[in-house]
């Protein structure tokens, strides 16, 4: 389980996170929702220790993050995290070199699934294909948790569908996923937990299925209630 406990963070005088707390379980998809600048990416960066927090605590399976944790948690930011001069096969080789959790077979399968070839240079790929390669680099790691930052941002509808298909596949099963997205309609039916952020705090956390069954509301309905009362 990923536990985010009362984290605070500011950029200069601007308080971005003002005591954010939530948990994300293994086997569930947790979606962080909020308007631009609400601190969604900062939370993911903080979980990966890519930005310092002023106070609070982040635990992964009950322990603070160490270098070994990067073998059980993968981060897929909204831009590709490999050198653009690399070919896809170089990127795979790099991952294989450093991560024992790298699963080459799965990487190859995903490459076929996304209809990409290994010899393509990253810099020559379209934005959508770069996003797919970025996703492969994260999903081909045998990790317990995956963090995804805006995986649908600026991508055409067919690529979005392909990426959304990944969420219904065995690739995500049993893993804990934290995702931030604006395009909630693409994966609304797949989300388990929703964390609504506003002004640096969690304004509501709920189970999508429970709200759907007990209150007959979709995630977007709840978002309207919270953001446009």
């Amino acid at each position: 389980m990923i536990e985010v406990k009362n984290i605070k963070k500011s950029y200069g005088k601007k308080q971005v996170l003002n005591g954010v707390s939530f948990t994300a379980d293994k086997g569930e998809i947790t979606c962080l929702v909020g308007i631009n600048g609400s601190g969604k990416t900062t939370i993911l960066n903080a979980i990966m220790n890519l930005t310092p927090i002023k106070s609070g605590e982040i635990l992964i399976d009950g322990a603070e993050l160490t270098k070994k944790t990067y073998e059980k948690i993968a981060y897929i930011p909204d831009t590709i995290t490999m050198l653009s001069s690399m070919r896809i096969e170089d990127a795979f080789l790099f991952m294989q070199d450093y991560y024992t959790a790298w699963n080459e077979k799965r990487a190859e399968d995903l490459l076929t699934f996304f209809k990409l070839t290994k010899d393509e240079k990253i810099q020559h790929l379209s934005k959508g294909n770069k996003a797919k390669v970025n996703m492969i680099l994260g999903l081909a790691l045998d990790v317990d948790y995956i963090l995804m930052d805006e995986p649908f941002s600026g991508i055409d509808i067919f690529s979005r569908e392909q990426i959304a298909d990944v969420f219904t596949s065995h690739l995500i099963e049993d893993r804990g996923v934290i995702i931030t997205t604006h395009e909630i309609q693409d994966i609304e039916h797949l989300i388990d937990q929703v964390v609504l952020l506003d002004d640096g705090i969690v304004v509501k956390q709920f189970n999508a299925e429970t709200v759907r069954e007990e209150e007959g509301k979709s995630i977007i309905d709840v978002m309207r209630e919270v953001y446009r009362p």
Binding site: L50, P52, Y75, P77, I80, M82, L83, D97
Partner: protein, 276 residues
């Protein structure tokens, strides 16, 4: 260790094209310049010969030509400085290239399942090795230049000095390639300490951004102050009873203090403060 070596190999390969470019530039300008200036010198000899001047007259009228003359020329010093400035520039670029523009490779480097200090040491070792390589290549070029001069100009009109004597004559080459092993190690060590101080300053800037620029400059200033304390304190406090070797030992000691403090601080910054 394995991760460090892999990262070192990776970092070195990233610099390789630019590095080869520097070597090619040095080769073309230095060797080309030596050929041209040797031929021009020979032309002067031939002109005097054609005017009927004898060997003695020529040696009286023309200063003998040798490698030492080449080393004071623009075509020698220019490419050498370009090489040195490129490596100095790369000392900063080796970090910023992972951050700036659309590049988010720093996300990957900082989330590798290895100590983040391995990234730091790999970048440091890359700068050190490329610096050493540049010096070795310069020495190699000087040996070729010496052969070129010997091939074009007759022995009687040459001032043949062995390579080490030429290195000794010119301040810049002597600093880069001291003929004394102890001095060589001393300069290399100071070079490493200075690079570590620069790296720490870059991490300070990457951690604190705008105000980080001021902190980074302060860091460099304080490091200089500590490193050079044995020199300025002697002037400031008016004592000069230390021997040269003792001053060097004290500089080594103060540099070691700077090195340790910088490494500890860098470790803290890269693990706790740096932001992508």
């Amino acid at each position: 260790m394995k991760s460090f070596l892999k990262l070192l190999n990776f970092e070195f390969n990233r610099f390789f094209k630019l590095y080869i470019g520097i070597f090619v530039c040095m080769f073309i300008f230095q060797i080309g310049g030596t050929i041209v200036s040797s031929l021009l010198y020979k032309k002067q000899i031939n002109k005097l010969v054609n005017q009927g001047a004898g060997q003695n007259t020529i040696t009286e009228q023309l200063e003998p030509f040798g490698l030492l003359d080449v080393t004071y020329s623009l075509y020698f010093l220019g490419p050498l400085f370009i090489g040195l400035i490129s490596i100095l520039f790369y000392t900063f670029f080796i970090w910023y290239r992972d951050w700036i523009g659309k590049n988010t490779f720093i996300y990957r480097l900082l989330t590798l399942p290895t100590s983040r200090m391995n990234v730091f040491y790999a970048k440091l070792a890359t700068i050190f090795i490329t610096g050493l390589g540049l010096m070795a290549f310069q020495l190699f070029l000087m040996a070729i230049q010496s052969k070129v001069i010997a091939f074009i100009i007759p022995k009687v009109y040459r001032s043949d000095l062995d390579l080490m004597s030429v290195v000794y004559h010119l301040d810049i080459t002597y600093m880069l390639l001291p003929t004394d092993v102890t001095e060589f190690i001393f300069y290399q060590y100071i070079g490493i300490v200075v690079t570590v101080v620069f790296f720490t300053s870059i991490l300070i800037e990457r951690s604190y951004r705008m105000i980080g620029n001021v902190y980074a400059l302060l860091n460099i200033g304080i490091a200089c102050l500590i490193m050079l304390a044995p020199l300025w304190s002697a002037t400031f406090f008016g004592y000069n009873y230390l021997y040269g070797k003792e001053v060097i030992l004290l500089v080594l000691l103060s540099s070691s203090i700077v090195l340790i403090l910088s490494l500890v601080f860098s470790h803290y910054l890269i693990n706790k403060k740096v932001t992508v």
